[in-house]
């Protein structure tokens, strides 16, 4: 134990979770909001739609907030390094909100032109959230202590797990760009949806690599 009170490191984890993820969500919501402002200038009745699309990249910030609350109030007795790892995982993976903002902005633009495409644009815009969900997943696994006394989840190694899923979560930015393109394609030809999804899911592969390595670290079979 580094400090007498594990929450001292836990506070750093909480700060990282809400800070970095908040940064990601802020940028993402900003990108989507700019597009929303343009849309409602054209047609004020689209305000509701704009709010919905702007809400999508905000979830990452919420996940960060959630993990911070969990660390500070609920899992106070979790291993201290697990708390930091959980914070890093949720925080960095929350940067995927930037990608989601790009996708939402494209989605909003497409819906402003043609309301029928709302559902499809939504599905594409929500793709880059997967990374944040993986980050949240690893954070939960760390905090709950799913892997028992495994050194991968209780010592400084937990930071490795957080970094793996966190940085791999930045693939969400790339995915957002692909999804934005796919929304444009689908707006032109609704039949492009299936193939567009295949392309847009590609960048997720790396988030899965990150998640896998994080799980392997937490399992700690190599120690």
């Amino acid at each position: 134990m580094v400090f007498d009170n594990p929450l001292l490191l836990g506070a750093i984890g909480a700060g990282l979770a809400v800070g970095i993820a908040g940064f990601g969500s802020g940028v993402g919501a900003g990108i989507a909001g700019a597009s929303g402002a343009g849309v409602i200038a054209e047609d004020p009745s689209k305000f509701g739609t704009a709010i919905v699309f702007q809400a999508l990249p905000q979830t990452q910030g919420l996940y960060g907030f959630l993990v911070a609350i969990l660390i500070l109030f609920v899992f106070q007795s979790a291993p201290e390094w697990a708390m930091v790892g959980a914070g890093i995982a949720t925080g960095l993976a929350g940067l995927s909100a930037i990608g989601q903002g790009i996708a939402s902005s494209a989605g909003l633009g497409a819906v402003a032109e043609d309301e029928k495409i709302f559902g499809k644009a939504m599905v594409f815009s929500v793709l880059p959230e997967t990374q944040a969900i993986y980050g949240l997943l690893v954070a939960i696994l760390l905090l709950v202590g799913v892997f028992g006394k495994s050194p991968g989840a209780t010592t400084i190694a937990a930071l490795g797990a957080g970094l793996a899923v966190g940085f791999a979560g930045l693939s969400g930015i790339g995915q957002g760009i692909t999804a934005a393109g796919a929304i444009g394609a689908t707006a032109r030809d609704p039949d492009a949806m299936g193939k567009g999804l295949v392309l847009a899911v590609m960048p997720e592969t790396f988030a899965i690599f990150g998640l896998l390595i994080a799980i392997l670290i937490m399992l700690g079979i190599m120690f």
């Binding site: 979830t59 919420l62 499809k120 929500v126 997967t130 997943l137 939960i140 799913v146 299936g194 896998l212």
Partner: protein
């Protein structure tokens, strides 16, 4: 789908078209492309719209004009919000017209009657509005000239003098005065009044310029350059003040008369508006019928029509055509001979599943002969939604909202009906999931009432820790070194298992489809490999023999390499190994069920914690503040996670599930059908 072809005697054609249009079971095919083929062109010539389209279009324009007029005078209907939340269906008027000519005759007489009552009023209204506009303009001019207490009659050019009145920008007044006196050798007078602020918020000065006629051109040129804006008051007599009084009186009179006319028109609108809407609909329907003739081909005495008919309606349509043509028609029904992508597709699901077709169509309607995945979506969608939202109170709220949208808003909109139905079912699923996980506004009961549901037998799992049934002393099961002894890991295990089952179903369906269409090899390479992997893993786990798992994984890797090699040589063979990660990614994607399930409960808990902190720390008004935090926080959480659960549930179907067997991209069946909102035929 069947292809229908009918040849009908020309005098019976109209009856056939009308009956098919009312029945709405046939999608017409445009024969124009066929007529490019010389063989067909020798037999048929293109057909033009039915002759009555001219009259119908003319009447339609007239009807629109009256509807616009009535729209412009109608008062806003009261009870807007109530009407919005609980729309009343317009009563349908029963109509019985057996030919376009009857509709045209009815339309003519109705419009004549309306015109007789409305025209005079409308013309007078138009005249009054023009007059009021003119007077308002004049009034604003006279207001600028109020300071000149002079009879306006004198501000007219005489035989030797040139007089002009107008406004110029304030800063140019002195310059203008100098210029005018210099070019007229002082034989001029520029009188200025008090500066005024015009409608465009500029400060301008009214001026009267008087000079000799011979300087007219020079002076008016100078005026133009200094931004002079002429005011035409030369036809008025008396001072501006007197005129203003007179004009204001006239405006009041005109407005009073206009109000009278508007009232009369409102009365007439009550009388005629609905009838005009009915007529509008009737005419639109006739127009569609007339235009449908361009789809047919014709010979000297017959028309030929082609169309798509869903198999189960073939007999009905055949009977209709034979009855309507009174035996003067030949019907032929064949299997479609066109490429599959041109054949339309009609989704045909039992009533309880039908609203879910919306979710299928949002992805893409199935291709012809492809399986309709709607029925397969239903259970997965509801289960996933329930797990992701997991809160009994939120679920109840969602059920109520769903019922409201379904029963109230759904009366006038099919889309609302479908989405309401889906939300209602999703809400019920959420209530069940909420009861299982003990989520009632998160941990509201524990936080505020001190009742920890997880210590009682009323909740099966605790998404954030241990429960009565699953805890360290009573682990659910042990997987190697991991003991499933708390909520999150139990839900994670459940999510992965559900995911594998979900993928398995998709793979089996895909395998079957491929087997029928492309043969065993394709089916095995595309879906069989993964089925093998899942079965091998399951077998290994059940019998607890890791060797089976290892052997299956090795075999599947090998098969992936072989498949890659068959597709495109060595490079693809190496990439084939990556397919395993792709499949693993699909499975892991279902872990989002746990993450989102916990996010709802966790955020609800965060709201409760904040409310409690505020309630405890702020004196007196603390309770009120806590209530506000609870209300806003839970509403926000409900909306965000309700939306998130919906889209993530869809994503799991579109990306992971459909990826195994479904492509979509068919053409939706769009029948030739009369759309009736205000009328009914039976």
């Amino acid at each position: 789908m069947k292809k229908l072809r009918a040849v009908i005697l020309d005098e019976k054609m109209d009856k056939v078209v009308r009956e098919l249009h009312e029945e709405g079971l046939v999608e017409l095919c445009d024969l124009a492309s066929k007529l490019e083929d010389p063989e067909w062109a020798g037999l048929l010539s293109p057909s033009s719209p039915a002759p009555y389209i001219r009259d119908v279009s003319a009447l339609l324009i007239k009807t629109n004009r009256f509807l616009d007029l009535f729209d412009s005078v109608k008062e806003e209907e009261k009870g807007g919000l109530k009407e919005l939340l609980n729309p009343t269906l317009p009563p349908k008027e029963k109509v019985n017209f057996s030919s376009a000519d009857e509709v045209i005759a009815y339309g003519r007489s109705l419009l004549e009657e309306v015109e007789g009552e409305v025209k005079e009023l409308a013309d007078r209204l138009n005249h009054l509005e023009n007059r009021i506009n003119y007077l308002q303009q004049l009034k604003s001019y006279l207001n600028y000239l109020k300071d000149f207490e002079v009879d306006l009659e004198y501000l007219k050019s005489g035989p030797y003098t040139y007089v002009v009145v107008g406004l110029i920008p304030e800063e140019r007044v002195s310059q203008l005065k100098e210029k005018v006196s210099s070019i007229t050798d002082n034989l001029s007078e520029v009188v200025e009044g008090k500066p005024v602020v015009t409608g465009e918020r500029e400060r301008k000065v009214p001026v009267v310029v008087v000079t000799l006629k011979e300087y007219k051109d020079k002076v008016s040129g100078e005026l133009r350059r200094s931004g002079f804006e002429r005011i035409e008051v030369s036809n008025l007599k008396g001072t501006p003040g007197e005129n203003l009084e007179r004009i204001e009186k006239e405006i009041r009179e005109c407005e009073k008369e206009r109000e009278d006319i508007l009232n009369k028109l409102r009365e007439l609108a009550k009388k005629w508006y609905r009838k005009l809407l009915v007529l509008h609909e009737l005419l639109e329907i006739e127009k569609e019928r007339a235009e449908s003739y361009t789809y047919y081909g014709r010979t000297e005495r017959t028309y030929m029509l082609e169309g798509w008919v869903p198999e189960k309606y073939v007999d009905r349509v055949k009977n209709t055509i034979e009855r309507a043509s009174e035996g003067c028609g030949v019907v032929e029904v064949r299997e479609p001979d066109e490429p599959e992508e041109k054949i339309p597709v009609m989704l045909d699901n039992p009533k309880p599943v039908k609203p879910f077709e919306m979710l299928t169509e949002m992805f893409a309607p199935p291709k012809y002969n492809e399986i309709d995945p709607t029925l397969l979506i239903v259970p997965g969608f509801l289960i996933f939604y329930g797990i992701m939202l997991t809160d009994a109170v939120y679920g109840l709220l969602l059920t109520l909202i769903g019922l409201f949208v379904w029963k109230k808003l759904g009366k006038v909109s099919e889309g609302a009906r479908n989405i309401g139905y889906i939300l209602t079912l999703a809400g019920i699923a959420t209530v069940i999931a909420g009861i299982i996980t003990g989520g009632y506004l998160g941990d509201f009961l524990k936080e505020f009432l001190g009742f920890d549901i997880y210590k009682t037998p009323f909740a099966l799992v605790n998404p954030l820790g241990e429960s009565f049934y699953i805890n360290e002393l009573r682990p659910l099961l042990k997987l190697g070194s991991i003991s499933v002894d708390n909520g999150p890991i139990a839900i994670l295990l459940f999510s992965i298992l559900v995911g594998i089952l979900h993928l398995f179903i998709g793979l089996v369906v895909g395998f079957k489809e491929n087997l029928e269409k492309k043969g065993f090899k394709e089916a095995f390479l595309n879906q069989g490999i993964w089925l093998l992997l899942i079965i091998g893993l399951a077998l290994g786990l059940v019998t607890n023999m890791p060797s089976i798992i290892l052997a299956t994984v090795a075999l599947v890797v090998l098969l992936c390499i072989v498949r890659g090699y068959m597709k495109g040589g060595i490079l693809d063979a190496m990439l084939g190994v990556m397919d395993i990660t792709g499949f693993l990614g699909n499975v892991l994607s279902y872990a989002r069920l746990l993450a989102l399930c916990l996010a709802t409960g966790g955020l609800a808990m965060a709201v409760n914690i904040m409310a409690k902190l505020i309630g405890d720390s702020v004196p007196v008004i603390g309770i009120l503040l806590a209530l506000i935090v609870l209300l806003i926080g839970h509403t926000f959480n409900f909306v965000m996670n309700g939306l998130g659960a919906f889209i993530h549930s869809l994503r799991l179907h579109y990306v992971e599930f459909f990826g195994q067997f479904y492509e979509g991209g068919g053409k939706k069946f769009q029948p030739f059908k009369a759309r009736r909102e205000y009328t009914t035929v039976n």
